[in-house]
């Protein structure tokens, strides 16, 4: 796929970084504010969509399509599962337990493993959405 006009490419360069940053902000505050993993995934995947739409698919330098994103997707779920599984095996013998210290409500480092889950799911959703997009777009 070829890209679009120069104006779009330039504006894209400006915006995409901000969108990423916004995504990272949401993901870190996922346990404090409305939003969280799924919204983050959508936002970050949207940034990728913009890139691909503006510059064409050549920008990703893929040998096989959806290669990288598919690995990222699997990694996301894998981290999630490992987190849940460590609870079962090591800590409390109960699947999915929140075994880390909860901290004080309202601070950034709080609510145990939930931020970690958020990050994992965020990666997964972003990769999955992007993956789907590539599969249908290319």
């Amino acid at each position: 796929m070829i890209g679009m006009t120069l104006i779009l490419k330039k504006i894209n360069q400006l915006i995409v970084g901000l969108i990423f940053l916004y995504g990272i902000y949401i993901i870190t505050h996922g346990h404090l504010t409305p939003g969280g993993c799924f919204a983050v995934g959508a936002v970050i995947a949207g940034a990728f969509f913009l890139l691909v739409l503006a510059y064409g698919s050549d920008i990703l330098k893929l040998r096989k399509r959806e290669e990288g994103s598919s690995v990222a997707e699997s990694t996301g779920i894998f981290i999630f599962l490992v987190l849940a599984f460590t609870a079962l095996i090591i800590v409390t013998r109960i699947f999915f337990t929140n075994y880390l210290p909860k901290g004080i409500t309202g601070e950034l480092i709080s609510s145990g493993v939930i931020p970690l889950y958020n990050i994992a799911v965020g990666i997964e959703v972003a990769a999955a959405l992007f993956n789907t997009f590539l599969a249908l777009y290319l």
């Binding site: 690995v71 699997s74 779920i77 894998f78 599962l81 013998r93 109960i94 999915f96 337990t97």
Partner: protein, 512 residues
């Protein structure tokens, strides 16, 4: 025992992910891992069924207990019926997965196949274990979506078409199920099956409950391919690769169709005469029309697929008669017999229909066709396939001493005992037509003269395929041991007990 329950979902899920991550790097991993994991799970489920003490085990995910007697967590509930289903799913899953090692070599994207396969099993295990109605929907969709993808795995004209139709109809039924979940939540403010049941006992908006029940019958009826919701099944089941057909026909329609009908209508709703009658009528229709559609088919797998509809009819009849007896306040032991017959037939069907699809796969693998008009004379060159296929055919048509005979016998006797003589007569006639159509399959495939193929090409299927077929053939005879009272009471009666005593299932609320 309790902490082992989530393994049924974690392990296949993790396998799917590991295959997607590392499958391309290590080919051995992607082949061996699913079989190994499923073998372990099979062993685990058989350990459960042997060491079963007729209690109900509950697993709270995340350790969240109930607050003010309201169950807020996600629960896995393990009772007799779940264990039976787990055995079926994992056993047939293991054998299909092992079979696939040789079978799926011909295709590209093997790692995706195994990943989807494991995902489907994880979904079905989840459906069976889930104790609340929304998680049940989620797992159901996991299983269904991976089956959509697997049906289209060969990416040819017919396969894509079948997959598309399957998806559209499957989505329709899923939406009705989701709508129902919404209605139930709106009405009871709860998602836990036992909790909903308790709340609905207290209040009585009869019309709404009947509306919900009918939507459930339609929704799960489509997943279970009961007539008139069956139209996707022959397309989808005949288009999938054979190990997947075995899974779809042998397990999937039971785990996400029949099982849920049984679970919800026995344990969540009160059994009413009208609904029981409706279920029995639908079962009868499926049984009769399914077999009439099957008898003239010339595509081997399509014939088998239509028979699935007919056999599901038997299962539903067994269940329905049990419900009718219970609703009329009749003798509970006869109801138990009838339900046990239905469940027994369901178990048997998983074994012999799985085997028949694997046989069809072996025939297609060697000859490259599954058109009965082009086949013939394979019994000499494929002894394992032909003998296992004969035993499965005899089992499905109810010839003693194979397992299908005993389950049909129980259903027929129960139908006569409940004075549904027309039903009894239909069940027997359908059994005879089934016999006729399977003898046609045997005759056209394995007997007669060998058609003009290259004789060197026709040889027995590879080891892994033969192994799965032989194990299932042994089970075809071995499962008839379940009729023996000592064994029957240890397994079947526990299963039925939780079904017909609704209060027993509700006990899980107090155990939380």
């Amino acid at each position: 025992m309790n902490s082992l329950i989530p393994l049924f979902i974690i392990l296949p899920l993790a396998t799917a992910i590991l295959i997607m991550l590392f499958g391309r790097l290590a080919k051995v991993l992607q082949k061996a891992l699913p079989s190994a994991v499923l073998l372990f799970l099979t062993g685990l489920s058989f350990y459960f069924i042997i060491s079963w003490d007729s209690g109900i085990y509950i697993y709270e995910i995340g350790g969240w207990g109930p607050i003010d007697n309201i169950p807020i967590s996600i629960y896995f509930v393990l009772d007799g019926l779940s264990i039976l289903m787990l055995c079926i799913i994992n056993l047939v899953g293991f054998l299909s997965g092992f079979y696939a090692i040789s079978y799926i070599k011909r295709y590209t994207g093997e790692n995706k196949f195994y990943a989807l396969f494991c995902l489907m099993i994880a979904g079905m295990n989840g459906v069976v274990l889930s104790g609340d109605i929304f998680n049940l929907y989620v797992y159901l969709e996991i299983a269904a979506i991976s089956s959509y993808a697997l049906v289209a795995f060969e990416v040819e004209k017919e396969k894509l078409e079948a997959s598309y139709k399957y998806q559209v109809l499957g989505c329709l039924s899923s939406f009705f199920i989701l709508l129902n979940i919404g209605l139930l939540y709106w009405y009871t403010k709860s998602l836990n099956i036992a909790d909903i049941s308790r709340i609905m006992e207290a209040s009585a908006n009869k019309n709404l409950i009947i509306f919900i029940q009918i939507l459930f019958i339609a929704g799960f009826g489509l997943k279970a391919a009961l007539i008139p919701f069956h139209a996707w099944l022959p397309d989808a089941h005949s288009s999938a690769p054979s190990p997947i057909s075995a899974m779809l026909s042998g397990v999937l329609i039971k785990a996400i169709g029949i099982y849920l009908i049984i679970r919800l209508f026995f344990n969540m709703f009160d059994i009413t005469y009208e609904i029981a009658l409706l279920i029995t009528v639908i079962g009868t229709l499926s049984m009769v029309i399914g077999v009439l559609l099957a008898i003239g088919q010339w595509d081997m797998k399509r014939l088998l697929a239509y028979h699935s509809i007919s056999q599901m009819g038997y299962v539903i009849i067994g269940i329905g008669i049990g419900m009718l007896i219970l609703a009329k306040g009749g003798n509970k032991s006869w109801a138990a017999l009838s339900i046990a017959g239905g469940l027994f037939h369901m178990t048997n069907h998983a074994v012999f229909k799985g085997l028949l699809f694997l046989n069809a796969g072996a025939v297609e693998y060697t000859t490259g066709t599954r058109n009965l008009k082009e086949l013939g004379g394979l019994s000499g060159s494929m002894p394992v396939t032909s003998s296992t296929s004969l035993s499965a055919s005899m089992a499905i048509s109810g010839i003693p001493p194979f397992n299908g005979f005993f389950s049909k016998l129980i259903i027929i006797i129960a139908a006569a005992k409940a004075q549904y003589f027309l039903l009894t007569f239909l069940a027997i006639s359908v059994s005879i037509i089934t016999l006729a159509s399977f003898l046609k399959l045997q005759k056209k495939t394995f007997y007669g003269k060998l058609k003009n193929w290259n004789l060197n090409k026709i040889k027995e299927a590879p080891f892994t395929m033969c192994f799965s077929m032989i194990v299932l053939a042994i089970l075809c005879i071995g499962l008839s041991l379940l009729i023996i009272p000592g064994i029957r009471e240890n397994i079947m009666i526990h299963v039925v007990y939780t079904l017909i005593n609704k209060s027993n299932y509700l006990l899980i609320l107090s155990e939380l």
